[in-house]
């Protein structure tokens, strides 16, 4: 019973998940977000996510790969930034010392 409402609920969750994907969230992040902002049981989110993944395997494969790539990219950027700031910091020190 409540089939229609279940169906529409699931559709809603599906929609929300898609939105999260637009934000590049992963499954866990999505579960958190939906629970926090939409009061959706994370178990439901997780289930719908998994089902979506099953139905759209290719998409998710690419998506996940991209996320990984992006994460790697981010990490690298951060490291570079850190190095730069470290270098800047030590340079300043040098200057100060010398100066």
């Amino acid at each position: 019973m409540g089939d229609a409402s279940s169906a529409s609920y699931i559709r809603m969750v599906h929609h929300l998940i898609e939105k999260c994907i637009c934000f590049n969230l992963n499954k866990e992040e999505c579960m958190d977000a939906l629970e926090k902002h939409a009061n959706i049981n994370p178990v439901i989110t997780s289930t719908v996510w998994k089902e979506l993944e099953k139905e759209n395997k290719e998409f998710f494969e690419t998506y996940n790969k991209d996320r990984v790539d992006r994460n790697i990219e981010e990490e690298t950027m951060q490291r570079i930034q850190k190095m730069l700031s470290d270098a800047a910091a030590s340079k300043t020190d040098d200057d100060e010392e010398e100066g």
């Binding site: 939105k19 939409a38 690419t62």
Partner: protein
């Protein structure tokens, strides 16, 4: 050797050997007992996935040029129904058959001989010896008809002798491969591998789709193991596939236009659809699902799946297919490779993944890509989602609605998502359920979700807030 080898047929075996068409005999033997054993079924031919799934098997395709099947039919009839007649014919023939006529039944010797002729005729037909072939075939047919067994054999022999030199090898190899299940309709089973298909497409394009004639295609491809008939039927399928692709594309284009029209025109005229249509993506301002989008018969099995262009290997396996974004047509697909048929028909309209559905069997050989790529120049996707490979096919009908929210949202893609924006987006969805799905992923099956939830001990009912 002979599939049919009752004692009495030994003479026939000798004879067959003598005529140098032993292979065919074997095939024929099989044939006579296996009249309905088609060389390939649609399932075998992977490209069945892509397009029209013919109800009947490939054999039914009308031949583009010569009609060897007609020849066969003739023989088959004779063979099948003619046991009686044959018997009569048999009796007088003692020419080369020490075997006794009464063996006709089990032996089907006579049939074999006739079919020998048929085979030979066919072989020649395949090799393009059109006319002379016809003559021989006619002769053989006439002979058979007249009950002149000897004549048939002779005709067959002639045929085989003349064709022995160059064609016997080909014929034999061909028949070898199709031996076991060959049918009167000698359609050697051709494995249309992606590579093979690619060459085929190249040849066709070289000649021009309209001018592409099987014999020329065969020449260009230069592959011995292909018969003109194979090419002819493959060509036919290819053409029909193209037509559908074109039709789809046209439709997709027109839908996109309409959508834009409606979207911009009546932004807020959100059609609030009743729950029942929850699955149908009620899109803003969209008129009730357009009349069963023409491609009803969708064979569009290709739609949806990443429009598999007929002929290119699928990038991945089985199900994984690029998500369809389309919201377009595609009413229903007969046998989507992926998943269960769309929840509702009209709904299907939106989320159609025609391709997607279907027997999980992704044609190993298959095809995919290229063509459509040309055809469906994916309309610019708003805020293309990085992961969306979307390629080519999809006549992407991404959310083109002039939806500012979406635009804003999309821009978030590259930055670290902030909680507020996520919250805003989520709120948006909650308050405006009629919004189209941003990605248009194939929706999960309600049943499987519910089942899964039950297993986890969760009641679906929207949890009380």
């Amino acid at each position: 050797m002979l599939a049919v080898s009752p004692v009495g047929c030994s003479g026939l075996e000798e004879r067959a050997a003598a005529t140098g068409i032993g292979m065919e005999t074997e095939a024929i033997g099989a044939v006579s007992s296996d009249l309905v054993d088609f060389d390939f079924t649609v399932d075998d031919i992977d490209f069945g996935d892509f397009f029209l799934r013919l109800e009947d098997d490939g054999d039914a395709l009308p031949d583009l040029e010569v009609d060897p099947s007609d020849i066969f039919t003739e023989f088959e009839e004779i063979a099948a129904g003619g046991n009686n007649g044959v018997t009569d014919q048999e009796v007088p023939t003692s020419v080369n058959r020490p075997a006794s006529p009464p063996d006709v039944d089990p032996c089907s010797g006579v049939l074999t001989a006739e079919e020998n002729a048929a085979v030979v005729a066919f072989v020649d037909v395949e090799e393009g010896k059109g006319e002379s072939n016809q003559q021989h075939a006619d002769e053989a047919a006439a002979a058979a008809n007249n009950g002149d067994f000897a004549a048939v054999m002779i005709a067959a022999e002639e045929k085989s002798t003349s064709s022995t030199t160059s064609s016997s090898q080909e014929a034999e190899s061909r028949h070898k491969s199709s031996g076991k299940s060959s049918h009167g309709k000698k359609k050697a089973k051709v494995d249309w591998t992606p590579e093979l298909h690619r060459r085929f497409v190249q040849a066709v394009e070289q000649l021009g789709i309209d001018k592409a004639v099987p014999s020329r295609i065969l020449e260009i491809m230069g592959i011995d193991s292909l018969t003109r008939h194979n090419i002819a039927s493959h060509l036919q399928k290819y053409r029909s596939h193209r037509k559908h692709m074109l039709a789809r594309e046209a439709e997709a284009a027109s839908w996109t236009q309409r959508r834009q029209m409606y979207a911009t025109g009546s932004g807020a005229a959100a059609v609030k659809r009743p729950d029942a249509n929850a699955w149908t993506v009620p899109t803003i301002g969209f008129p009730p699902p357009p009349p069963p989008p023409a491609p009803p018969s969708h064979p569009m099995q290709h739609f949806g799946r990443p429009l598999h262009v007929w002929g290119h290997p699928t990038p991945t396996v089985d199900s994984p297919r690029v998500p369809m974004w389309p919201r377009h047509l595609v009413p229903r697909t007969p046998a989507p490779p992926w998943a269960p048929p769309p929840p509702a028909d009209p709904a299907a309209f939106w989320h159609h993944h025609p391709y997607m559905r279907g027997p999980g069997h992704m044609p190993t050989q298959v095809i995919a890509m290229p063509m459509p790529a040309a055809r469906f120049p994916a309309p610019p996707v708003r805020g293309v989602l990085p992961p969306c490979p979307a390629p080519m096919y999809r006549p992407l009908v991404p959310p083109t609605f002039a939806n500012k929210d979406q635009q804003d949202t999309q821009l978030q893609l590259h930055t670290q998502p902030s909680s507020e924006s996520i919250d805003a987006a989520i709120g948006d969805v909650l308050t405006k359920p009629w919004l189209p799905l941003p990605l248009g992923l194939k929706p999960p099956s309600v049943d499987s979700v519910m089942g899964e939830l039950q297993r986890q001990g969760v009641a679906n009912v929207p949890p009380a807030c």
